[in-house]
């Protein structure tokens, strides 16, 4: 080996050049990652920043699903006060062109309900799908302290294209054996009615269990931790991966001229599975005496959206009929937020995320539309 290392062929070959380039690449990554961490610390949506702040000021999962368990302790104690869990996608927490003092829907909702003796807490994540929404429900039901009186879900049509648990929620499931049991029991209970959704849940559980094994303190994890200390590239691999995926996403948009307004037809199998999962959410909540209420999220009235109009109409019609048939409080808040309160996205009007005022208006609309439900909660009655 020493002869090889001493040889002229070795030093003239690509291996020493590779080593040099790899060291340089690590230094560049270290610099990039340091800057990224600094930006995150300046951003309110950061778990560590939030957890170091005063407890009462946190009204939603600021890790946006990446580290939900870190926010569980911020959920108002449901054994002491009626709790509304507000579940939804990025609209629930994202603020376009944020200004000091801007608040999210969850903040406004909690402020509006507090005088009635009811509390609200937001559990949202970008592109949240119904499998994840079901996981959030089961995780809340897992403890008396977090078991809400009302599960309020903002439905977004294009999220019915998504399935799978993101790593953050997978990790939440992996860490909690009781939650795993509840998840498995729910899948098995609905296996006859919804075989595809049920099978999907069991697959997700398998994936979560596999993740748990990977995250366990094995020789492999210890070695990876050690590698993180030596190589900044290993330490930053998750962020680098997210960056690469983002760049691929932009490349795709550029190559195929995809815009936020490009039409995205539903994907039948996924759409059906998400509808099945919503039914599972409804039945599971009610079996545990938790009320459910659904609303269709506001959309920018001036922006073109990517929905195929006939499909979107069919969705709204289905959810309306479903809610009516099952006696679920339901509201369509689609046209609630005027066009001046929406921001921009990728060079055009953002059809789904609004500025600070949009959050206040949406929260006010929720308080108005579901006022009767909140009043019942305030009186100690069970929500429908």
């Amino acid at each position: 080996v020493i002869d090889v290392l001493r040889s002229r062929a070795f030093w003239r070959g690509p291996i020493p050049r590779f080593v040099a380039l790899f060291v340089v690449a690590n230094l560049l990554v270290a610099r990039w990652h340091g800057e990224l961490v600094r930006q995150r610390e300046a951003n309110l949506l950061h778990a560590e920043t939030a957890s170091s702040g005063p407890k009462a000021e946190v009204h939603f999962d600021r890790s946006t699903g990446e580290n939900a368990s870190a926010y569980w302790s911020y959920i108002p104690n449901a054994t002491q006060v009626p709790l509304v869990a507000l579940v939804g996608m990025s609209q629930t927490y994202a603020i376009n062109d944020p200004k000091p003092g801007d608040q999210t829907i969850s903040d406004w909702l909690d402020a509006g309900l507090k005088p009635k003796g009811v509390r609200a807490f937001g559990l949202a994540a970008p592109n949240l799908n119904n499998e994840e929404a079901l996981l959030i429900l089961l995780a809340l039901l897992n403890e008396k302290k977090t078991q809400p009186q009302l599960y309020l879900y903002g439905l977004c049509f294009d999220k019915f294209r998504n399935v799978d648990l993101r790593p953050g929620y997978e990790s939440l499931l992996a860490k909690n054996p009781e939650l795993q049991k509840a998840w498995r029991d729910t899948a098995n209970r609905f296996a006859g009615r919804f075989p595809q959704a049920s099978e999907k849940m069991l697959r997700s559980l398998e994936a979560a269990t596999a993740r748990k094994k990977v995250e366990a303190a094995t020789l492999e994890t210890r070695l990876r931790d050690a590698a993180e200390k030596v190589s900044p590239m290993v330490a930053a691999r998750t962020d680098l991966n997210a960056y690469v995926q983002g760049e691929i996403f932009l490349l795709r948009n550029f190559l195929f001229r995809i815009k936020p307004t490009s039409k995205r037809p539903i994907i039948e199998s996924r759409y059906r599975m998400n509808r099945e999962l919503l039914e599972m959410i409804t039945d599971t909540a009610r079996n545990r005496k938790v009320g459910v209420a659904y609303y269709v999220i506001p959309l920018n009235p001036l922006a073109l959206n990517p929905y195929v109009p006939a499909e979107y109409e069919a969705f709204k019609s289905w959810i309306h009929d479903f809610a009516t048939a099952r006696g679920i409080p339901f509201a369509n808040l689609e046209n609630e937020v005027p066009s001046e309160h929406w921001g921009e996205f990728m060079g055009g009007p953002d059809f789904k995320h609004f500025r600070g005022e949009g959050h206040r208006i949406t929260a006010a609309a929720i308080l108005r539309e579901f006022g009767a439900v909140f009043d019942r909660l305030a009186k100690g009655s069970v929500a429908p």
Binding site: V1, V4, S7, A9, F10, R12, G13, P14, I15, R17, F18, A20, L21, F22, A25, R161, V163, D164, P195, Q196, E199, K200, R203, A210, R211, V214, L219, E220, L223, R224, A227, S231, M233, V234, R237, L240, N241, V244, R252, F256, R264, P265, I267, E268, S269, R270
Partner: protein, 477 residues
């Protein structure tokens, strides 16, 4: 210990250093010990199975088969090798089929079907053992030294998923003293990096996309089924050839040259050529130890041609104890049969270079590729009903070009990967043609830097994409 894990990197670095540091006479013993450590990191008790079979094969080859050429002796040796494979891998399959038959006869019998834990690599080391006994039984000299034989059986790079090495290919390498030179080191590291990239970045990216179509209860449309077949074709190629790359690269770091297992299989212009390029060491095993004896046995009989289908059915069954695998084997058997009969004019190679021949060659490539990709549906399907569902979606053009399961991104990714494969295929000879691979001068310097940049990107991609070290697909066989 997965080849793409940090544990393996550390294991390999320690093994490499130790191996080349100790005196040459102890190196094989060290490699045997390390191989058992590697194997027992999965399951300690199955290490005894491997050791027991190895001791039996060595003793039986040396003291029985080398002295007596009786067919009965060879049959006994083969049966001993097959017994653990039948017990661990096929008991459930045989019993469940027996139960189904009994039910068909109207008898109610529901025995408790045993779930068995499959020893890792059992299919590979069983085939290797059988090949050894057959070779010795037909005149090949046995290994005299137990140490050499234990090394041949257990050397870890090939232990779990091949390449299936024959004694003649490695005997001389074991018996001569090995040295490490720069070209071995560079070749080994290069193949390991390539394998890690294929597995972590390519195969593991495709896996979840393909899995979503094969989720029980999903109702795929035409485009989903086609994308799933095309995606799985690439996934399994990247996955298995990655294992072979790391295996061949690792062996080279220890001074051993393993036979290649893949040679651009999707470039094949006939089913026969496909099997000369895909899992080459298994293909020749099936040819030499199943097809050839069967065709001799049925020589001149009207069943002669069917031996090909039977041999491929065995190949399918070797992959897994399920009817889907058997059907996959039969599918390829029929393709090979068509290759030799009805479709011979299409698949026969030609030396001409005119437009007609090129067109015929392109059609042959597309037909072969299409048939191979359709065959993967049997291989990947969870059961026969699911395979039928996917074929139904494809043949019935269900849902047209609108996906029902996959997101458009997934279809784009699979398409982009195929474009990448075709691009790599077209461009792979280009640097040599342009004279960039020179060893000296300015061009040589540029080439060395280009290689270094390429492997830095590959290594970076492996680190960035490596989530959890996922098991290779062929580990289940």
């Amino acid at each position: 210990m997965i080849f793409t894990s940090y544990t393996y990197v550390v294991f390999l670095a320690c093994a490499f250093t130790l191996y080349w540091t100790i005196p040459a006479r102890h190196r094989l013993s060290l490699a045997i010990a390390l191989s058992y450590l590697f194997y027992c990191s999965w399951s300690f008790k199955f290490g005894f199975l491997l050791l027991g079979l190895s001791l039996f094969n060595w003793a039986y080859g040396r003291y029985v088969l080398a002295r007596s050429k009786e067919a009965r002796g060879l049959t006994f040796g083969i049966l001993i090798n097959l017994a653990p494979l039948l017990y661990f891998k096929y008991t459930l399959f045989l019993l469940s089929n027996l139960v189904a038959l009994v039910h068909l006869a109207g008898i109610h019998w529901t025995p408790l079907l045993p779930e068995r834990y499959l020893p890792l690599g059992i299919s590979f080391f069983t085939f290797q053992g059988i090949a050894y006994l057959v070779d010795v039984g037909t005149g090949e000299p046995p290994f005299e030294s137990l140490r050499d034989f234990l090394f041949y059986k257990a050397f870890w790079p090939q232990l779990i998923a091949g390449p299936i090495i024959r004694p003649g290919e490695i005997r001389e390498q074991i018996e001569t003293e090995r040295t490490l030179d720069y070209s071995d080191l560079a070749f080994g590291l290069r193949r390991i990096a390539q394998g890690a990239f294929k597995k972590v970045v390519l195969a593991d990216t495709l896996a979840p996309l393909v899995d979503s179509v094969f989720l029980p209860g999903s109702h795929p449309a035409f485009v989903d089924a086609v994308a799933a077949a095309a995606g799985f074709g690439l996934q399994i190629y990247f996955d298995f050839s990655a294992y072979s790359d790391i295996s061949i690269g690792t062996a080279r770091l220890f001074g051993f040259r393993f036979p290649e297992n893949f040679d651009w299989p999707y470039q094949a212009r006939s089913p026969q050529e496909f099997w000369n390029r895909w899992h080459m060491t298994l293909s020749r095993w099936i040819r030499d130890y199943v097809f050839t004896p069967l065709s001799f046995a049925f020589r001149g009989s009207r069943w002669g041609k069917a031996t090909l289908v039977a041999a491929m059915a065995v190949c399918g069954l070797w992959h897994g104890a399920q009817w889907t695998f058997v059907l996959w084997g039969v599918w390829h058997g029929v393709l090979l049969l068509l290759n030799q009969t009805l479709l011979m004019p299409l698949f026969a190679p030609s030396r001409k270079n005119d437009t007609g021949t090129r067109l015929k060659s392109t059609v042959a490539l597309l037909v072969t590729l299409g048939a191979v990709l359709l065959g993967w549906i049997f291989f990947r399907a969870n059961d026969l009903a699911q395979a039928r569902e996917l074929f139904h979606a494809i043949l019935g053009f269900r849902g047209g070009l609108r996906p029902s399961v996959l997101r458009e991104n997934a279809i784009l990714i699979i398409g982009a990967f195929w474009l990448g494969v075709f691009g790599a295929w077209l461009l792979r000879g280009l640097p040599r043609q342009l004279g960039l691979t020179a060893h000296s001068g300015a061009a040589g310097e540029v080439w060395r830097w280009a290689i270094a940049v390429g492997y830095t990107l590959i290594t970076t991609a492996v680190i960035v994409f490596q989530g959890d070290a996922k098991a290779f697909v062929y580990f289940q066989f």
